[in-house]
């Protein structure tokens, strides 16, 4: 499997070249184009592990309910993935390092050798944040494709670092996090419009997206017709 990310950062797309018989799993709706002989199988969870609970979990996490598995049967082939919002994409190689926690909505695709778990997050923490702070836990080895609204920048956390909840793309599970206030006081955090933020604690990398889809919606929303 070869992954090439093109048209960065504004209009990123991921071109995945598959050998005969190879498979890539992707978020439903991410496929832009593919070879004619590509076989597509749709499941509600990782292949061979489909279950009603898995589907429900995906429903809850705000991801579309389905995963598509593209298999290049009968010869090599390719699939091209894109996303709805303008922004960058990143290929991440899972290996011997810690698990990768990906914000729901930032996940694009992964190799079948990468395991996906939607059940990691405690609901109390997630709901309280008011944003789609749901996570997909990726483990195993192989490539993962992740997208962002805007540019992606990594932060090497060593101690504590704060990221606004709408700006988190992914982080290494070696980091702990807590949902907390941005300012010295709750009053200050809400008056200042920052609200809840995520404080990462420990050592590891967090990938941030430069822009916040919610803020863009707030800017654009008033100009759109109501229905």
């Amino acid at each position: 499997m070869q992954i090439e990310i093109t048209h960065q950062p504004g209009n990123s797309a991921a071109r995945v070249s598959l050998q005969a018989g190879e498979t890539i799993t992707a978020e439903g709706g991410a496929m832009i184009a593919m070879s004619g002989h590509m076989q597509v199988e749709t499941t509600t969870h990782k292949r061979d592990k489909g279950s009603i609970m898995g589907a429900l979990k995906r429903l809850v996490t705000g991801e579309s309910l389905f995963l598509n598995h593209f298999t290049s049967n009968g010869g090599p082939g390719e699939v091209i993935f894109g996303t709805a919002l303008t922004g960058d994409m990143m290929e991440f190689q899972m290996g011997s390092g810690p698990a990768l926690m990906v914000q729901a909505g930032s996940y694009v695709a992964s190799a079948p050798s990468v395991d996906m778990d939607m059940s990691w997050q405690g609901f109390g923490k997630a709901l309280f944040s008011g944003e789609s702070m749901f996570w997909i836990k990726l483990t195993g080895t192989g490539p993962v494709i992740i997208n962002s609204f805007g540019a992606i920048y990594p932060i090497q956390v060593n101690g504590e670092y704060i990221v606004d909840t709408g700006h988190i793309v992914a982080f290494e599970e070696s980091l702990n996090f807590e949902i907390t206030k941005a300012g010295k006081s709750w009053m200050s955090s809400f008056l200042g419009g920052e609200g809840m933020v995520c404080k990462f604690i420990g050592q590891g990398t967090v990938w941030c997206q430069s822009h916040n889809a919610g803020s863009f919606g707030t800017a654009l929303g008033p100009s759109l017709k109501s229905h």
Binding site: Y153, G183, G192, G193
Partner: protein
């Protein structure tokens, strides 16, 4: 204080490295990430009445956030506007600059934010009745949806409504039809802003209202 604009032109954001004791001020919700031991305090945007004026008249937030480094070494805060697009820094040295509502992102403490009457013509141009002025000593970061074009005007220049981002205070703005009545309406240009004087203006290559006008017929 060291600052860089990253991600430009499509997704510009600002990294500000604060030395011990330094402060940077940013509009509401501009912070995307920061060192956990920076102090963030929300304050009225130029006092209570000043904040009210800027919020209701200048299209800015009622509160701004003060990020202060009370540690003993350099700390970073990253700031960004709500829309994708480019960001610029201007350094003020006693001079004044005018910003359209919503363009302001952040500034250093020596910069004063004020609201001035821009006239009904500005409101007609969908650019608000009031304009935001920045003056004093220090740096200001502002941004727009799309790219930013800088133009030295000497005489007259015409900018489509909603594409003007910033201009020097001596520039005079007038609102008018783009051409004759028919060509203005049928040609989709509608009102334009006629700018007169000698000085710098900044134009954005896209506008949110343009995007909304495109999206609206497609929503149901």
């Amino acid at each position: 204080m060291q600052s860089t604009i990253e991600g430009a032109p499509a997704f510009a954001y600002i990294n500000v490295d604060l030395e011990p004791g330094e402060t940077v001020i940013a509009e509401s919700d501009a912070m995307s990430s920061m060192a956990a031991d920076l102090d963030m305090v929300a304050k009225f945007n130029g006092g209570f009445f000043g904040g009210l004026a800027k919020a209701f008249l200048g299209g800015e937030s009622l509160f701004v956030n003060h990020f202060t480094n009370n540690t003993s070494s350099t700390r970073r805060v990253s700031l960004v506007q709500g829309t994708p697009g480019n960001t610029r820094q201007i350094d003020l040295n006693g001079n004044t600059f005018c910003l359209q509502p919503g363009a302001y992102i952040a500034s250093t403490p020596g910069v004063n934010l004020g609201v001035k009457w821009a006239g009904f013509k500005s409101w007609f141009a969908k650019e608000g009745l009031f304009k935001l002025t920045v003056s004093g000593q220090g740096s200001v970061w502002y941004g727009a949806y799309g790219g930013l074009l800088e133009k030295e005007v000497d005489g007259e220049y015409i900018v489509d409504t909603s594409h003007l981002v910033a201009y020097e205070p001596q520039m005079q703005l007038k609102i008018q039809l783009a051409g004759g009545l028919f060509s203005s309406l049928a040609g989709g240009e509608g009102f334009v802003t006629r700018i007169e004087g000698k000085g710098k203006i900044i134009i954005q290559t896209r506008s949110l209202s343009g995007l909304a006008d495109w999206l609206n017929p497609r929503l149901w």
